[in-house]
Every structure is written in C-alpha cells, then in structure tokens.
Amino acid sequence: MTVTAAALPPTEGGVEQFEALYRSCASDLYSYVASMLRDASAAEDVTALAFERAYRRRALFDLRRGSARSWLFAIARNAALDELRRRRRTGILVGEIADDAAALEDDDGLAERRLLVRDGLATLEPREREVILLKFVGRLSNGELARVLGCSETAAGTRLHRAIARLREACDVTQ
C-alpha cells in the first residue's frame, strides 16, 4: 500500500526531497503531536523540533526500513514522549486544545458525530489513541506502524483493530 506522498529518502544533498516531505507531512504531523500532547504551544515546538532532528539525521535514513513519512512520525513520537516525560518531571499542567472544528460545521448531524468522536477519543487509553492517530492522521501502513511502535506487524494490526473497536464502543456509549 502506498500511503505516503513523499516517500523519498532525504539523503545528503536531497534538500528538495526533504522539502517535499515537509510540505506533505507538516500538517498531519502537527495534528498527531498536538493530539498526543494536548497543548498547542508545546505541539508547535515539538513539530519544529521533529523536522530539525529529521533534517540533521537525514543521512541516517534507510528507505528499506520504511517510508520517509513513517521515519518522520517516529522522530515526532519520540520528541512528543520526551516532552511528556519532561512535563511529568516538572509538573507542568496544560489545558486542552480548544477545538472549534465541530462548531464550524453547518451540518448538525456531522457536527454532532464529530463531537462524539472527539469525546470518544478522549476516553481511550493513551496507547489506543496513539495508534488511531498514527493510522488515521499519519496514514502509516501496518508495517510502518509496527516499526514506529516497536512491535510486530501482526501485533500492530491487532492493537489497531482493538483501538478502533474501543473507539466505536466509546462513541456509542457517549451517544
């Protein structure tokens, strides 16, 4: 399956390829990081940091181990987890990101469904939410998901399927 628009190796001298990767991933990457951190300011910092790290390490990128997109998401995930660790140590409290996406919808039914999904996502375990985000937002294949999460492809698929089931369940319950 091809899910990456910019699966070009950002090798040494491939600034153009890296720029293409940046253009295609920046928005999704921010969405994923912000959903993980639930803090817009920190998500901006971590997103920028992930791109910087990726650029510095682009010579280490190996296309055989996955697409550039999954490699970038793995870097962002590590940076986000480091940020969470730092917060746990320093006891920083953050508020939820203000979500006005649903309020802007004209279709009441659609808006209501999205609110349900948002609330359902909030009730998931962090690991379940993470796998949903990597799949739905990051658009990673199951193999790439496995490499990012550090598990087998089958385990990644199982975790994803369970998380989807839990999300549906949470949406139904909240409904």
């Binding site: 399956m1 091809t2 899910v3 600034v15 720029e19 940046y22 920046a26 928005s27 921010y30 969405s31 994923y32 912000a34 959903s35 817009a40 998500a43 901006e44 997103t47 920028a48 791109f51 650029y55 590590n78 987890l81 480091d82 969470l84 660790r85 746990r88 990101i97 979500d99 996406a101 649903a102 469904r113 999205r114 609110l115 349900l116 999904v117 948002r118 996502l121 375990e125 962090p126 690991r127 993470e130 949903i132 985000l133 799949k135 739905f136 937002v137 658009r139 294949s141 199951n142 550090g150 087998s152 089958t154 385990a155 698929g157 199982t158 994803l160 399927h161 989807i164 999300l167 949406c171």
Partner: protein, 404 residues
C-alpha cells in the same frame, strides 16, 4: 486464538482501512469506517495559519543557513581529508623507515642503495669492552685497494702503536678487555659481486673501521670476495647488521675472549723490567771497574729487548680489545640470483612489502586499541538507548494510570 492473531473479519477491515486511507473507493460495508476516519481527522487539532507561516519561515531560514554552512564545509572537509592523508603518510614513512633501518645509523641511501633482501642481524653491544682511544686513524686509505674485476689486492695490518700509548688503560676492575671477532659469509648474485664488495668497504669506513686485507675475484658463478676488517668493538653490532643486509647471509660466527688477565700480566712484567732497568742504571753509575760496567751494560741491553717485547705484547692485547676482527666472505650464488635478491625493482618491491608489513602491524595495534573502546561505547549506547525507549513507553502507561 492467539492474542495477536487477527480474525478474517478484522483483517478485512484493516485492508479496507488501508484502501480508504489510500483514497480508493469505499464499499458500502465500510462507509461507517470511512466516516470514522473522516471524523477523527476532522477533530484532530489543526495547525494555525500563523504557526504554519512561522514554520515555513523557520524552514527557509534553516535551509539558507545550512547551504551557507555546506559551502564552508566543503573546503574544510577537503582540508581535513588532506591533513588526514598527510598524517597517515607521515606515520607510514616514519614507521616504515624505522623498521627498515633497524639499528643502523641514519644514512641517506637506506631505501635504494645496493640493499638486497638479506635479513639484518643485530648483535649485542660490547659488554665489558674497554673504552680506549682508537688507533686506527690513518690506515683506512690503504685498505680500499680492491681491483675492479678479477684483481686481487692485499694490504698489511696497520696497527703500529707507540710503546708510550700501550700501557695505559682504564684501571676500573669492572672494565674488562674483551677481544671480539666475527666471520660472516654472504651469498650474492655474480653480477652484483663487485657492488656488494664496494658496499662492504663503504660500510666498514662508515663505522670507523678499516679493511686490513681484501680480495675480490669476479668470474661468473666462481666469483669470490674476502675481506679482513677491523672495526672499533663498539661498532661491531652495527657493522654486522649493515653487512648482513647487503646480501643473503649464509653463515655468521661470532667469538669473544676476555684478555684482561693477559694484558695485566704483560703490564706487570713490563713494570718489573722497567724497575730492574732503573736499578741497573744506578748500579752502572756506581760501578768501580770497566769490566763491571760492561757486565751491567749487557744486562741493561737484554732488559731493553725484554721491555720492548713486553711493550709490543701489551700493545697488541690492547689493540685486540679495542678493535674487533671481522672476516667477510662473499660467494657467488645462482640461487640468490634466481630469487631476485638483486635488481632495483626487486629491492624496491621488498622495501614496499616491508613498509606494508609495518603498516599492517600499526593498523593491528590501532585496532587492538580501538576495538575494545568501540565495543564498550556500543554497549553503553545500546543500554542508554534501551533505557530511553523504555522510559518513553512508560510515559504512556503513567498517563493511562493517571486517567480518572
């Protein structure tokens, strides 16, 4: 069912999920899934336009800075690479020349001057040798008289010491007078017999020695050369080492003998005879008759002969201790010719192999140092990486546990 096994329905749903994410057509069975994906993507936080602009600006700024750094890095990398290559070459030259020179004194023609592949032989220093003034000055010119081809030249020993110089030596008991000698047989290709013979003379002079006699005959495979050399004992090991590198070494014999006692006896006898002579001189002055004077004079004359002989003997012993005798024989060898021990190309090849050999040894030593350090570093990196990964994963578990 195993914990990680997917049911066919689950696998089908995951396949449909991938298809939807790839932008493919959505089957009726999976419309709900497509709507779920759309909802999740819609409720995910979106970056603001302001942040997008800032990130774009930061990206452009970083790219410009990096291209500036890259333009500076290229010449710097070239300098670093050039310096590294120069350093490696310098180390190789130093190490290589050190290995090739061995214990020989530095000379300008080490790598290309008539050296064959014969093994260099290092001899121990002259322990117990006597520090004495050398008396070989002025004798070297007569020793270098070998004819060019088939000619035979012989020179006589050049050790003639004045009696006054003979009797004094270091009286420290720890200094022993040791007579040293060596016999070296070399095998050289016939075509190089003359050049090797010339090298023998040249090396002997370089180590302050003299050629007492020499004989060089060049007649094909029956070519033959012999040398009788005398060299200061202190330089004997260096000379043997140098000579043994001129051609293949067939044989090397060394000898040493302590002549301190003989020398001391000769000195004692000389002192006694001088004392007797002094007493006879006094008696001569007090002699009352002509016949008595004649008898004393005869005794003095006999004593003078004895004193001269004793002086000669002590001087010879001193010279033996001071200078080592080296006998060098060079025989023609077809095998040496066939093995290519001669010829500038082969010698250069041998030298190159030696340099490579030394370089390999240096590389092995470096590897022995670097490898353990690299392994320890790798282990530390692996441990730190594992700890960091676990610590990151624990964050999610802690977050789950902290949920209300």
């Amino acid at each position: 069912m195993s914990r990680n096994n997917l049911t066919p329905e689950a696998a089908a749903e995951l396949a449909a999920l991938d298809a939807i994410l790839a932008g493919g057509p959505v089957a009726d069975d999976h419309l709900e899934l497509a709507a779920l994906i759309d909802s999740v993507r819609s409720v995910s936080p979106q970056r603001s336009d302001e942040f997008a602009a800032r990130l774009d600006e930061r990206f452009e700024r970083g790219r410009a800075a990096r291209s500036r750094r890259a333009s500076l890095r290229a010449p710097r990398a070239a300098w670093a690479g050039g310096s590294l290559v120069a350093l490696v070459v310098a180390v190789a030259v130093v190490v290589g020349s050190g290995a090739l020179n061995g214990s020989k004194p530095v000379r300008s023609d080490t790598l290309g001057h008539g050296r064959s592949g014969g093994p260099a032989i290092a001899l121990p220093g002259p322990a117990g040798g006597v520090a004495l003034p050398r008396s070989s000055a002025g004798a070297t010119s007569s020793a270098n008289a070998s004819g060019p081809t088939g000619a035979t030249a012989t020179t006589s020993p050049a050790f003639t010491l004045a009696p006054s110089k003979v009797v004094e030596r270091n009286t420290n008991p720890s200094h022993r007078l040791v007579a040293r000698g060596a016999a070296l047989t070399l095998a050289s290709p016939p075509a190089q017999m003359q050049s090797v013979a010339n090298e023998v003379v040249s090396d002997t002079e370089r180590f302050d020695g003299i050629v007492e006699s020499s004989s060089v005959a060049v007649h094909g495979l029956s070519s033959y050369a012999s040398f009788s050399l005398s060299v200061p004992s202190a330089h004997l090991p260096s000379l043997i080492s140098s000579l043994s590198s001129l051609a293949g070494v067939r044989a090397l014999d060394q000898s040493s003998s302590d002549i301190t006692d003989s020398y001391d006896q000769a000195r004692t006898q000389l002192a006694d005879e001088k004392a007797q002579r002094a007493a006879l001189i006094k008696a001569l002055a007090a002699a009352g008759s002509l016949s008595a004077e004649q008898a004393i004079q005869q005794k003095i004359n006999r004593l003078d002969s004895k004193i001269a002989a004793a002086t000669q003997r002590a001087g010879a012993l001193l010279v033996r201790g001071d200078n080592a005798k080296v006998s060098v024989v060079i025989v023609a060898s077809a095998a040496a010719a066939a093995s290519g021990s001669g010829g500038p190309v082969n010698r250069a090849l041998n030298d190159a192999l030696k340099v490579l050999d030394v370089a390999l040894a240096v590389a092995l030593v470096a590897l022995a140092i670097v490898l353990p350090i690299a392994l320890v570093t790798l282990a530390c990196w692996w441990a730190a990486s594992t700890l960091r990964r676990r610590s990151r994963e624990r964050v999610l578990e802690v977050a789950a546990a902290a949920r209300p």
